[in-house]
C-alpha cells in the first residue's frame, strides 16, 4: 500500500505539490491526469525518493520513504518506475540493460539474471532483440525494454511517468498494450498519463491534479465520464 499524506514539494521558490493525499491499495491501478505543471510527475519521483519532499509523509508498505534512516536502495527495489524518456543505458545491449540491476542489486548469478531478463523481454515482445543495442530500437521498443528492466526487479509497484508522451503516435499502442497486460495481471500501478481513454479503460480510480492538489478523484466513469468540477470538465474537453 502506498500512503501519501499531505505532501508538499517545492523546487527552490516554486511550490509544485501543495498538500496532496492519496492512498493506493495493493492491486489497484490509479491514473493521475492533469495539465503540465500540476505536480503529477513530481509526485512519482517523490514516491521512490528520487526527489525529497518538504512536508507530509509518504509510506510504502509502512516504510517512511523520506525518513532519514530509510534504505532507499532497498525500497526502490520494490518500486519500478518507467520514465517519459525511456533512459536506456546506451552502452549495454537490451539483454544487459535488463540484467544489470538483478545482478548488481539483487546479487543474482549471471545465469539466473539472464533467464529472468529473457523472460521479461519476451513478455514485452522483445525476445528477438536480446543482443541488440538500444540505439537500434524504435522509441516504442526502447520503452518496452525499460518496462522489462523495471519488471526484472520483481517490483510490487510500478509507476509510469507519461510513458508514452515522447513516442511517435503509431508507437503508443504497443506500449499501452504492454501496460494493459500488466494491469490485467494485477500489478499495483500509478500512471501519470495524457492517454485519457486508456486511463478510463484500465484504471480503478482516476485523480485529476490541478495546481499541485488532487482536484477530483473517483472511479473513471465518474471523473472522466461525468466530472463534478468545472475545471475537470474543461481539462477533459481540451485533451479529448
Amino acid at each position: 500500500m502506498i500512503e501519501i499524506d499531505n505532501v508538499y514539494k517545492s523546487f527552490a521558490d516554486l511550490e509544485v505539490i501543495k498538500g496532496v493525499s492519496l492512498t493506493v491499495n495493493k492491486g489497484e491501478v490509479v491514473s493521475i491526469i492533469g495539465g503540465s505543471g500540476s505536480g503529477k510527475s513530481t509526485l512519482l519521483m517523490c514516491i521512490n525518493g528520487l526527489e525529497p519532499i518538504q512536508k507530509g509523509s509518504i509510506r510504502v508498505d509502512g516504510t517512511e520513504v523520506h525518513a532519514p534512516g530509510t534504505d532507499l536502495n532497498k525500497l526502490r527495489q520494490k518500486i519500478g518506475i518507467v520514465f517519459q524518456q525511456w533512459n536506456a543505458f546506451p552502452h549495454l545491449t537490451v539483454l544487459e540493460n535488463v540484467m544489470l540491476a538483478p545482478r548488481k542489486v539483487l546479487g543474482k548469478s549471471k545465469e539466473e539474471a539472464e533467464a529472468l531478463a529473457v523472460k521479461q523481454l519476451t513478455h514485452v515482445g522483445l525476445g528477438d532483440k536480446l543482443k541488440v543495442f538500444p540505439s537500434k530500437l524504435s522509441g516504442g521498443q526502447q520503452q518496452r525494454m525499460a518496462i522489462a528492466r523495471a519488471l526484472a526487479m520483481s517490483p510490487d509497484y510500478m509507476l509510469f511517468d507519461e510513458a508514452t508522451s515522447a513516442l511517435d503516435p503509431q508507437l503508443v499502442g504497443e506500449v499501452l498494450d504492454t501496460m494493459r497486460l500488466l494491469a490485467e495481471e494485477g500489478m499495483t500501478m500509478i500512471l501519470v498519463t495524457h492517454e485519457i481513454r486508456f486511463a478510463r479503460d484500465v484504471s480503478d480510480r482516476v485523480a485529476f491534479f490541478r495546481n499541485g492538489l488532487v482536484h477530483e478523484i473517483g472511479s473513471p466513469d465518474q471523473v472522466i465520464g461525468n466530472p463534478q468540477k468545472p475545471e475537470t470538465a474543461d481539462f477533459l474537453k481540451s485533451v479529448l
Partner: protein
C-alpha cells in the same frame, strides 16, 4: 647522387631515443590518467569543495612546460632529492598531463545525462554502482577522443626533457646533427619516427572508438 654520412649506428641511436620517448610517454600518461580520473571525478561530483584543486591544476595547465621542468629540476637539487632525471621527466609530464586529463574526465562525467543516473538509481542501484556501471563506461566513451589527443600531445612534449639531460628522440637527433652536420635529413627522420609513433597510437584509438560507435 645523394650522399650522407649517416650510419646505421646513428639510426639505431635514434631508435633508442624513440624508445625513451615512448617510455616517458607511458610513464607520464600512467600518472596523468590515474590522477586525472580521480581528480576529474572529484571535480565533477563536488565542484565547490574541490575548487582549490582546480586552482592548483590551473597553474600546471597554464605555465609553459619548459619552465616547470627547469623549476622542478632546480627544486630537486635544492631539496637534495635523489631521483633520476627520467623520474623527474615522468613526474613533471605526469602532473602536466593530469591537469589536462582532469578536465577531460570532468567533462565526460558531466556529459552523462542526469536522467540515466536517475534510471539507474530507480532500479535500486547505489551511488557507487551507478558510478561504476553507468557513469564511468559512458563517460569513457565521451572522454576518450580528448584523452587520445592528450597522449599525442604529451608524446611530443617529451622532447622538452632534453633540457634536463635525458637523451630521447629529439636530443638523439641533435647529437647526430652536431656530428654529421646534416640537420635537414636527421630532423626529417626524427620527425618521421614521431609521426609513425603517433599514427600507431591514433589508429589504435580510432579502432576502439569505431567499435563503440557501432553500438551507440
Amino acid at each position: 647522387m645523394f650522399e650522407t654520412s649517416l650510419t646505421s649506428n646513428d639510426l639505431l641511436f635514434l631508435l633508442k631515443g624513440a624508445w625513451v620517448t615512448l617510455e616517458l610517454t607511458v610513464g607520464a600518461m600512467l600518472i596523468g590518467t590515474l590522477a586525472g580520473v580521480l581528480f576529474g571525478l572529484l571535480r565533477a561530483t563536488l565542484p565547490r569543495a574541490t575548487l582549490p584543486l582546480a586552482w592548483v591544476l590551473d597553474v600546471f595547465r597554464s605555465v609553459p612546460l619548459l619552465i616547470q621542468f627547469v623549476l622542478f629540476n632546480a627544486l630537486k637539487s635544492i631539496a637534495g632529492l635523489d631521483i633520476s632525471a627520467f623520474a623527474v621527466g615522468c613526474i613533471v609530464l605526469g602532473v602536466y598531463a593530469a591537469s589536462f586529463c582532469t578536465e577531460i574526465v570532468r567533462s565526460g562525467v558531466l556529459a552523462v545525462p542526469a536522467n540515466l543516473r536517475r534510471a539507474a538509481r530507480s532500479l535500486g542501484m547505489s551511488y557507487w554502482q551507478d558510478l561504476r556501471h553507468i557513469v564511468l563506461p559512458i563517460a569513457t566513451r565521451v572522454a576518450f577522443p580528448g584523452w587520445l589527443n592528450l597522449v599525442l600531445s604529451v608524446m611530443k612534449d617529451t622532447a622538452l626533457v632534453m633540457w634536463i639531460g635525458i637523451v630521447e628522440l629529439l636530443r638523439a637527433s641533435q647529437t647526430i646533427v652536431t656530428r654529421i652536420q646534416e640537420p635537414l635529413l636527421v630532423l626529417c627522420i626524427a620527425g618521421l619516427i614521431y609521426y609513425v609513433m603517433s599514427l600507431v597510437v591514433a589508429r589504435l584509438g580510432a579502432r576502439l572508438e569505431k567499435r563503440w560507435q557501432e553500438n551507440d
